[in-house]
């Protein structure tokens, strides 16, 4: 997989020809014509990894004549450019980006992410208005509270009431609008969502305070209502930020296939066309290192393709004439001539993406439990307020109004509404600092209750191949060297008994470093620091091996059938062998390299009471070996994406809540369909777009850390809820009886909210699990 990644990032011969983009037909799709005559385009930028890249890209673009505005979003890896295309053509713009070292791909004009950007800006403005308003309202309210203790004249009191009204009004009417809009939406859909009671509470407290201000009696609660809106918006804003960092599916799909293809004309020459223009029956040429643009049948002799992202198959497969190649797979050794069979939405790749969409739709809705709790609590409070109103209306109508408002304010569902967002927000921050990006915040709650983990194998548990042993054949008995001893060989030329092994390793490394094949990389890595001699007359044989001359000897490194004559292959394993004309020199045993933390992670998860399972698209024999090394008993190999999803349904039918961990395109449906999908950051965009949690830095162990933190979060949420419930049980009856003075109601509400937030801040204070505390620095023992 790592080799495939390398090949994909290098601007290979398959990189698109920018001039093509000046085609008017194509531009109609990607350019947005602005009112001032300038053009606007959204580019998906491949290779954009960090903030420094953003600067390099920005510099490359703004240096061009006619370029007006450049906006680059490193998170979504998109650049948005407004420029005068009479000065600089689109092709020149793309060429400049390519020169800066990135791979630009103009996206369809409808991908202009206006909606997302505006949503983010809107939320920020509303939050700020609520913050300013709440602070000011609080200031004016303090004057009123002091006035309740040390009486002031009614004119001053009314002045401060109206000032409170003036600052609370924009908070309620502008900042609070999403709640009202949401409530209206759910009422139209005949549901009682979270927004309905919240909007009702805001409207009632605000309306009651206004009535009191007009009337001249009682108390006003403009500060409480502003603060309520502010707290709720703060939680929602953090959630939105997380959501916007996620990739969307269409974007991910656009990056899996190349934008253009080399089509052969009738006269045999090549022309570059957009992939969208390919039709079944076209003949297409794909170069080594490029991505196959459409499903098709191989017309040339032979090639090797890496389908690991599509099928989970860990080794690149050999394809002969007439075999089928799949869009999105990587041509490791080519070139290949392809007769197109299916394009666009008909390809196998598009089928997998469609499966992702369906799986997402059928994902069980379980995490909104917290919202339901808040909604039912608010509904209960509203009921109690109505009962209070009724009771006082019969007993003493004059005291009805203050008592109802006191019930609403003292119970103001802040503590309840904040219990979950405060804890989740804190957890997200702690996780981000440890390298875990949580895309869907409710995954935290789901993760704490998970019972099953389904791992993908290739790219998730394993990471490429390594050379685990070498067998040297010579005059004497066959000698075997494990990985450690191979590295020692490479460090210094050894004494006599190891001399033959040393020279075999040198020769193998000399050949291996001439190829990017994963097996070659593994052998070269096993040789360590060894300085190999120079290989000459190198010939690479697709799918078989490599042949070269080293120190005057003609050597072959590769499959036994390639390196040896037929009568010599008896008794040789299925590894990679090194041979010369007279026969076998050495055999290299390759095995899949487990991620360094894979075994520890599996152990930690099992110790945590989870059932661990491997579901892979790779050959069952290889899956079995990996499962045995990790001590995992349940495993399945040879699964198609749909099979994986079916397996998931089976597990779920037994009542399990599943975490799926994967990285490839073939994992995407199962990631989307699982209760929690976890993707490796180095995996495909599609897998990341389909999952809820992304593990950065390729560290699998973060999964058990995240799980532990999720449990802690849930415990804190429970604590917070109990605390809020206890507070409300004590306060509401008193308020209903009219015994709580308004300033105490407001104070109680603020303090209960503060308690919830402070409690949430304790999450993650404990030392990260699995790390021993450092010994305190002190005088060394004598």
């Amino acid at each position: 997989m790592s080799a495939a990644g390398l090949a994909a990032t290098s601007p290979g011969p398959g990189a698109p020809e920018p001039a093509l983009w000046d085609d008017a037909e194509l531009q109609r799709h990607v350019l947005l014509r602005r009112d001032d005559g300038r053009a606007e385009v959204v580019l998906s930028i491949g290779g954009l990894r960090c903030s420094a890249c953003v600067l390099a890209l920005e510099r490359a673009l703004t240096g061009l004549p006619g370029v007006g505005r450049v906006q680059i979003n490193p998170a979504s890896r998109r650049a948005r450019v407004v420029w005068d295309d009479r000065c600089t053509r689109l092709s020149a713009l793309l060429a400049a980006v390519t020169r800066a070292g990135f791979r630009p791909l103009p996206l369809d004009a409808c991908a202009l992410d206006d909606a997302r950007r505006d949503e983010g800006r809107d939320a920020l403005k509303r939050l700020l208005v609520a913050g300013f308003g709440a602070a000011q309202a609080m200031m004016f309210a303090v004057v009123l509270y002091v006035g309740a203790v040390d009486p002031m004249d009614t004119t001053t009191r009314d002045l401060f009431r109206w000032l409170g009204f003036a600052v609370a009004t924009p908070v309620v009417l502008y900042s609070g609008r999403p709640f009202f809009a949401g409530a209206l939406r759910s009422l139209r859909a005949r549901r009682l969502g979270m927004d309905v009671p919240v909007a009702l509470a805001i409207a009632l407290v605000y309306g009651a305070s206004l009535a009191v201000a007009l009337d001249g009696g009682g108390e006003v609660y403009f500060d409480s209502v502003s603060m309520f809106v502010f707290f709720l918006l703060a939680g929602r804003y953090l959630e939105l930020r997380g959501r916007h960092r996620a990739l969307d599916l269409t974007d991910a799909l656009a990056r899996l296939t190349p934008p253009t293809a080399d089509r052969r004309r009738a006269d045999g020459t090549l022309e570059q066309v957009p992939v969208a223009a390919l039709r079944a029956g076209d003949l297409v040429r794909v170069d080594s290192g490029a991505t196959v643009p459409a499903d098709g049948r191989l017309e040339s002799a032979a090639c090797r393709v890496d389908e690991s992202m599509l099928s989970g198959e860990s080794v690149a497969c050999h394809r002969g004439r007439g075999d089928e190649l799949l869009a999105g797979s990587l041509l490791v050794e080519g070139p290949a001539e392809l007769r197109v069979m299916r394009t666009g939405a008909a390809t196998t790749l598009a089928g997998i993406v469609a499966l992702v969409g369906r799986a997402q739709a059928e994902r069980p809705r379980l995490a909104r439990a917290s919202e339901r709790v808040v909604a039912s609590f608010v509904a209960l409070v509203l009921g109690l307020a109505a009962a209070t109103a009724l009771a006082w209306g019969l007993a003493d109508p004059a005291r009805m109004f203050p008592a109802v408002v006191a019930v609403l304010v003292v119970s103001c569902p802040c503590a309840f509404a904040l219990a979950v967002p405060a804890a989740i927000t804190r957890t997200l921050a702690v996780l981000a600092a440890r390298g875990v990006l949580v895309v869907r915040p409710d995954a935290i709650e789901a993760l704490a209750g998970a019972t099953h983990v389904v791992f993908d194998k290739t790219g998730t548990l394993t990471d490429g191949v390594r050379c685990s042993a070498m067998r040297v054949f010579g005059a004497g008995p066959t000698r075997e060297f494990d990985a450690d001893r191979m590295r020692q060989l490479g460090r210094r030329p050894p004494a006599e008994p190891d001399r033959a092994a040393y020279s075999a390793l040198r020769m193998a490394a000399a050949l291996a470093r001439e190829s990017r094949h994963p097996a070659s990389l593994a052998i070269a890595a096993a040789a360590g620091d060894l300085e190999p001699p120079r290989a000459r007359e190198i010939r690479s044989h697709a799918g078989l091996g490599i042949e070269a001359c080293v120190d005057g000897r003609r050597l072959r490194l590769g499959r036994p059938a390639f390196a040896l004559r037929a009568e010599q292959t008896a008794g040789v394993g299925d590894g990679v062998v090194l041979a010369d004309e007279s026969g076998l020199i050495a055999e290299f045993v390759l095995e899949e390299k487990l991620r360094a933390d894979a075994a520890a992670t599996v152990r930690a998860l099992v110790a945590d009471g989870l059932t661990v399972e491997i579901a892979s698209g790779d050959a069952p024999a290889r899956v079995r070996r990996v499962a045995a090394r990790l001590g995992v008993e349940r495993w399945q190999g040879g699964l198609l994406p749909a099979d994986k999803l079916a397996r998931l349904r089976e597990v779920r039918a037994a009542g399990a809540r599943t975490v799926a961990v994967g990285d490839g395109v073939n994992d995407a449906p199962v990631l989307a369909g699982a209760d929690i999908g976890v993707a490796m950051a180095g995996g495909t965009d599609l897998a990341r777009a389909a999952s809820d949690i992304v593990l950065a830095g390729e560290r699998l162990e973060l999964l058990s850390t995240t799980r532990e933190l999720a449990r802690e979060t849930l415990a804190t949420v429970q604590q917070n809820r109990r605390w809020a419930l206890g507070y409300n049980l004590a306060a509401i009856p008193l308020a209903a009886l009219g015994l709580v003075p308004p300033w105490l109601a407001a104070l109680g509400m603020s303090l209960s909210s503060l308690g919830v937030v402070l409690n949430a801040l304790r999450i993650g204070r404990r030392r990260p699990p699995g790390r021993e505390p450092l010994p305190a620095p002190g005088p060394a023992p004598a």
Binding site: A52, L55, Q71, L124, K125, F132
Partner: protein
């Protein structure tokens, strides 16, 4: 107490001004990218045509 009549409108005007400035900033892309600007001073720009090294920088001001 009369000072209140000056201070309160002043405070509200200040807040309104701050909010207006913030809205302007949000609408002018100031909050869209919070990542790269912090690295700006660290970047070398050897081929920045606007400011060639030497005479232009010192001679300009």
């Amino acid at each position: 107490m009369n000072v209140l009549l000056l201070m309160i409108p002043l405070s509200i005007a200040l807040v309104a001004g701050a909010a207006a400035a913030f809205f302007w900033a949000v609408n002018h892309d100031q909050f869209d990218d919070l990542e790269s600007p912090k690295l700006l001073p660290l970047m070398d720009d050897p081929d920045d045509p606007a400011a060639p090294p030497g005479e232009d920088r010192t001679g300009g001001r």
